[in-house]
Amino acid sequence: MFVALRDLRHARGRFTLMLVVIAMITFLVTFLASLTAGLSRESTSAVTDLPADHLAFAMPAPDDAPDFTASTVTPDQWQAWADAPGVTSADPLGVMTTRAESSTTTAPVTALGVEPGSVLLPGPARDLATGTVALSADAAAALAADVGDRVDVAGAELRVGAVVDEEVSFAHTPVVWTTLGDWQAVAAPRGDGPTATVVALTLDEPDATVAATDAALGTVTVTTAQARSAIGSFSAENGSLTTIQVFLLAISALVVGAFFTVWTISRAGDVAVLKALGASTRYLLRDAMGQAVVVLVLGVGAGTAVAVVAAALLGGAVPAVVGVATTLVPAVALVATGFVGAALAIVRITRIDPHAALAAR
């Protein structure tokens, strides 16, 4: 990059401008990725953090997509799942977003109904008894309630048996755990007898088990990661934010491509001279692409750093999650798409005729 690095120094105003633009786009993409991950977690952590790998839904119609608001599984179904070969555990789980009221305030919560002693209960709440409720840290904070207090969950008055020091939420509401019996009492179960929303499964051989058991029981079984789509708010939110990120990536590629198009056109005379002096096309492409990579890496690096700092500073105000998936992955994607944009612009070097160097400038 003999010429490229010297061009960067010589035309530092133009390249600085480009760096700032790339850094700004990177900031937007990275911060948005952090925000998407944070919102996703607020919407789905009650599902993704379950100690299970699959969830079996029972939808009103066989072709319906899994949906937590419409699924109802019966005791026969979860018992049949528990008896199916290759199933390590099968626990009924009731899910209901409702309103909770303490002596001082009210807050929206999601009540998870779980059988006492189930592995689905967090450790401190494993001995949850009928008539009691375990609160997640956020639910306790929202209700200003502590162990021993009484809270009303969807009309059922329960005593707080435990406060779990975990941030677990569903559809942006904090989670509380009740026994399945208490949950069934307030969730207005449909169908015959007491029901739950889904069956949480741990499977030894999912491929062999799921299809046959689903067909026999009329359930629809998906992984806990796939089950996120069964939360309405997650699908809409995640889809919108991901679309914005894709658009920003495309805009980034266009901006970088446009810059290097103008830059390559402006130095066409230099390229012709270099070719006339004996520079191979491969040398010139390597030089120019190296220059693009330097600009991209510096711009993306700066933008990522600003986004990480901003996410850290605003962590209490917005649900931004900083991690490899929200920083490194967008950064690599931005460098890659920017590289493609630059490559499409720089490839015009191959068409520059060294004969043009004979023309006076």
Partner: protein
């Protein structure tokens, strides 16, 4: 090594017709001598220079450097580029220096193009800048040099790596008579000292007093050739 232009013809497409820019020209330039190609605008002298430097493929005929065919009608682009890099130095009508490189770096670039560290030619580059009278200005960028100084850097750049052939296109067009004459004298002297076969294209005969031979080209054909004067 001598430069041989053997029956060079260059025909350009010109709408539905064709235009013969160079018509069956043969010319030999012995090593260490300078031949001036003189002629009016559009006579074909720059086209002949482009063929001699492998910038344009001839329609027919060959360019030989020594005994080897350097550029012909079917020479691959990559081979022509390699030959230019290793055996041909070109000075353009305008100096065509790269704005981001200092005078010294313009010369060191040659080493980098050949895959070597620029430092490997630093001594030669410094000496060449000294020979063209710019030793003190080695670290200046083109914008910090006068037109004549830029032209001399371009001449020094063309001589890095001791090319067998030195091609100079209208070196005096932007200079006054005195400076133009000095530039031609510089090219002639350096070509002689370094044993390069040099060709200078010019339309101004008054600056060419120092060259070994003057060849006139009109309508793409050699018209007259003055006798080679021993240097």
């Amino acid at each position: 090594m001598d430069l041989h232009l053997d029956r060079i013809t260059l025909v350009y497409p010109d709408g539905d017709e064709t235009l013969t820019a160079v018509d069956d020209v043969s010319l030999t330039v012995p090593a260490g001598t300078t031949t001036a190609l003189l002629g009016p605008s559009g006579s074909g002298k720059s086209s002949l220079l482009a063929v001699a430097g492998g910038l344009t493929r001839p329609t027919s005929g060959d360019v030989r450097i020594g005994e080897d065919v350097a550029f012909g009608p079917h020479t691959p682009l990559r081979a022509a580029t390699r030959t230019r890099l290793e055996q041909v130095g070109i000075v353009f009508q305008a100096p065509q220096l790269l704005a981001s490189l200092t005078a010294l770096e313009q010369l060191e670039l040659h080493a980098h193009l050949r895959g070597r560290r620029p430092a490997t030619v630093r001594d030669e580059a410094t000496a060449l800048l000294g020979e063209v009278g710019l030793a003190d200005l080695a670290h200046r960028h083109p914008a910090q040099l006068s037109g004549g100084q830029r032209q001399r850097v371009a001449i020094a750049r063309a001589l890095v790596g001791s090319p067998d052939v030195l091609l100079v296109d209208e070196p005096t067009s932007a200079l006054d008579h005195e400076r133009g004459t000095q530039v031609v004298e510089l090219v002639t002297r350096l070509a002689r000292e370094r044993g390069a076969a040099a060709v200078i294209v010019s339309h101004d005969a008054s600056t060419l007093g120092s060259v070994d031979r003057t060849v006139r080209i009109v309508n793409g054909r050699l018209e007259t050739a003055e006798a080679l004067v021993p240097g």
